[in-house]
């Protein structure tokens, strides 16, 4: 029995591995792009539509003629939200299926583990759709990614700059920060500190809070003692309302700068619009334009609903920009693709937009040796030296109990601010 089980196991492994190898040996067609996305596990509900969209992107590329004349296939693996399995899947994609690039990767912890253990050493570019962690920026700055890491989602630094702009525009020089005590909150706090320093302000102090408490009186009292001229509130919806209510009822200033998580009518109703006349907030600016419309139309045509949800636009871009780079690269080798990822964003090139039509034009232009600039589902974007992208942001305020846009920080302004701050 024991031997039989072992034999069965060994033969299954052999079949699994040799099958992969046989597929890999048919090297030229179809061309494969690897993807590691959480389909099950805690991130599953977010990951599945992201995987669907990645699949859509690859279908568009294939329908547009494919890479180097070959149809493109997505070699999709589930990481189940566990970094160990994510690394294992990436290892298999790179070693056995010989994918020249990996896209997707939802969790920051998983993306960093894969970059650290697989893709950098294997010289295979990873174009993440959704990992926002600043750790990857730091690894890039230290040269530990070898330039093989890219992402199509703006890092939290965009928010940090937007907060600093919103505060200094109103002349707040010494704001107090109350922030949620997690990865997101603490890294955003550091970004705000740095951005505010450049724009002529200084944080009076920062108080962390833990989520889902019935009251935040202690934290609010600590924050009041710092005597700032405004409050920057980095909180999730319900906690944010509790904190804002307690802050105002204990006599705190109504000069509030709110995070995008509080951009909701629920928050306004919970706090009371009459206390929020001086409040402002920040958010990602939804980019508009023909490239975004082209993606939205393509998505609706396939899934019969609007592309609403995290990571859908960014994963489409990560797959398409990778496919364009593969078309651009002389050979389908990781290093050539890494370099080509920047070439397909040539500012002087022909504009390429999402959708079968748009991608076809791009693929043909590259084939003909012309320069292209991919403007994606997230609008125009350019990888900086760390493989990161920036994005536009907006400042909102509350008027008669309604959310209105106060000002937009567009991509050019954001890029200039990033340069000034030294991000």
């Amino acid at each position: 029995m024991k031997t039989r089980i072992l034999l069965a196991l060994a033969s299954t492994m052999t079949v699994a591995l040799s099958g992969g190898a046989a597929l890999a040996q048919g090297a030229q067609c179809p061309v494969r792009i690897g993807a590691v996305i959480s389909l099950t596990g805690p991130q599953g509900p977010i990951g599945k539509p992201i995987a669907d969209t990645a699949q859509l992107a690859v279908e568009h590329v294939s329908a547009a003629g494919g890479v180097k004349g070959c149809p493109v296939e997505l070699a999709l693996r589930d990481d189940t939200g566990q970094p160990t399995l994510g690394v294992d899947a990436a290892r298999y994609l790179v070693d056995v299926q010989k994918v020249p690039a990996i896209v997707g990767v939802v969790g920051s912890g998983i993306a960093t583990a894969i970059v650290s253990a697989v893709t950098t050493a294997a010289k295979v570019p990873m174009v993440s759709c959704c990992a926002v962690t600043p750790t990857l920026t730091r690894l890039s700055e230290e040269g530990k990614t070898g330039g093989y890491f890219f992402r199509t989602i703006p890092t939290s630094r965009v928010f940090g700059v937007a907060h600093a702009v919103a505060a200094t525009d109103r002349g707040y020089k010494n704001p107090v920060v109350i922030y949620v005590n997690n990865d997101f909150g603490s890294s955003l706090l550091r970004d705000i500190e740095k951005a505010l320093g450049t724009l002529g302000g200084k944080i009076a102090g920062a108080i962390p809070y833990n989520e889902n408490q019935p009251s935040y009186r202690t934290e609010v009292n600590q924050a009041l003692a710092l005597k700032g001229d405004a409050l920057i509130l980095l909180a999730f919806s319900q906690d944010g309302a509790t904190i804002a209510r307690e802050w105002i009822s204990l006599g705190g200033t109504q000069n509030l700068v709110l995070h995008n998580t509080l951009r909701s009518t629920d928050f306004i109703n919970a706090v009371g619009a009459r206390f929020l006349t001086k409040a402002v907030g920040i958010d990602n600016a939804q980019v508009a334009g023909p490239s975004v419309d082209a993606f939205n139309a393509g998505f609706k045509a396939k899934f019969n609903r609007d592309p609403v949800g995290p990571g859908l636009h960014t994963v489409y871009d990560s797959a398409v920009v990778t496919a364009l780079a593969m078309q651009q690269a002389a050979t389908l080798d990781g290093t050539a693709i890494r370099d080509a990822l920047r070439q397909v964003q040539d500012p002087t090139g022909e504009t390429v937009v999402p959708g079968v039509e748009g991608i076809k034009k791009g693929l043909d232009a590259i084939k003909a040796g012309r320069k292209v600039r991919y403007v994606g589902a997230t609008g125009p974007f350019t990888f900086d030296k760390n493989g990161d992208v920036t994005g536009p942001a907006l400042v909102w305020k509350v008027e008669d109990g309604k959310l209105v846009t106060d000002k937009v920080i567009n991509l050019e302004q954001m890029t200039a601010l990033f340069r000034r701050i030294g991000f």
Binding site: M1, K2, I5, T12, M13, A16, L17, G20, A21, L23, A24, L39, T40, G44, G47, K48, A51, D52, Q55, E73, L74, A75, L76, R77, D78, T80, G81, Q82, P83, T84, L85, V87, D88, A89, R91, Y92, D95, V96, G107, S108, G109, T112, A113, V115, S116, A117, A121, A122, T133, P134, T135, R138, L139, E142, K144, N182, D183, F184, S186, S187
Partner: protein, 321 residues
């Protein structure tokens, strides 16, 4: 072929690391009957100790201590054992399901500490740039060298534990497992033996965590979720609780189940339907686990019923159900 070999080397390394943790659990559960549902907590302590001692200085958390790899691996084991000693002293009176709940809670607490003790753990961002031994070798040779290291450590732990459970102390430990009152009546210090087994079992878990951190070069709290405790338990139960060779075999079989099921799904499911592949993989893992438990209820290798290699298996020797 190189690709397959490279992947197999990778697979064997991860499985060996899991096997080390499974051996630790085997001492705690298989030989002394202590239900530790917080395996991942001890792995996390080992991993973070190793990371803190070897990662370069970073502005968010301590670092730059630059310990050599071997020293950091030993330190990870020692720290894990000390933490296990403290936890063990508190939970020594708890039995079976009560101990399981307590250790489960402790593992959750450790995960939250990892998330919040930013000065040491880097919080949710984790610790990157951890020293990897053999890092200057080319990728394939790095993998091979690391596999050799992991296999060497696994063999060492296996031999030590085998010696331990075959010693008079090991027999007394099994006596405690079967009937504490009887063992106490024979003059055995039950609490002390249980505590010793708990601490000695936790140390390999810490070592496994440290090896994992050294292998990947990055740790974050997301590496140590409750699912990993379940995986180590599955390895022990499938392999054969109470049998060290079974624990090692179980680690390889169950990890193969987890990783290869994904590969098989990729090959049998058409590309267009692969988004559903995750669910198929989860079902496959569940079905195979159940099948193994139904057909081999005592695990692939059951516990040996005799305590000396000189004796034959004897049906008259009692066995715990």
């Amino acid at each position: 072929m190189m690709g397959i070999l490279s992947y197999l080397v990778f697979f064997a390394t991860v499985a060996s690391i899991f096997a080390i943790a499974t051996l630790g659990l085997n001492l705690q559960w298989g030989f002394s009957g202590q239900f530790n549902a917080g395996v991942v907590g001890f792995m996390a302590i080992g991993a973070y100790t190793y990371a803190a001692l070897t990662a370069p200085a970073q502005h968010e958390h301590v670092g730059g201590l630059g310990w050599p790899v071997i020293a950091a691996l030993v330190a990870a084991m020692v720290v894990t054992a000390l933490v296990a000693l403290a936890i063990g002293r508190i939970t020594i009176r708890l039995r079976t399901d009560y101990l399981a709940l307590a250790t489960f809670g402790i593992a959750a607490a450790i995960n939250h500490l990892a998330l919040n003790l930013e000065g040491i753990t880097g919080g949710g961002r984790g610790i990157a740039g951890i020293a990897k031994p053999f890092a200057d070798l080319p990728p394939f040779w790095f993998g091979l060298a690391f596999l050799a290291l992991a296999a060497f450590v696994l063999a060492l732990i296996y031999l030590m534990l085998e010696r331990l459970v075959r010693s008079p102390w090991g027999r007394a430990l099994r006596a405690v497992r079967e009937d504490e009152v009887a063992a106490a009546a024979l003059g055995k210090d039950v609490d002390r033996m249980r505590l010793t087994a708990f601490v000695l079992g936790a140390a390999p878990m810490g070592l496994a965590g440290a090896l994992y951190a050294a292998f990947i070069g990055y740790v974050s709290p997301y590496d140590f979720l409750a699912i990993m405790t379940f995986q180590v338990w599955a390895m022990l139960i499938v392999g054969g609780s109470g049998n060290n060779a079974g624990a090692v075999l179980g680690a390889f079989v169950v990890w193969a189940l987890w990783s290869m099921s994904g590969i098989i799904v990729v090959q049998i499911v058409p590309t267009q339907l692969q988004v559903q592949g995750g669910a198929i993989q989860a079902i496959l893992i569940g079905v195979l686990l159940i099948a193994m438990l139904v057909f081999r209820p005592r695990g692939l290798m059951g516990e040996r019923l005799h305590s000396s290699p000189l004796l034959r298996d004897d049906a008259s020797v009692g066995r715990r159900q």
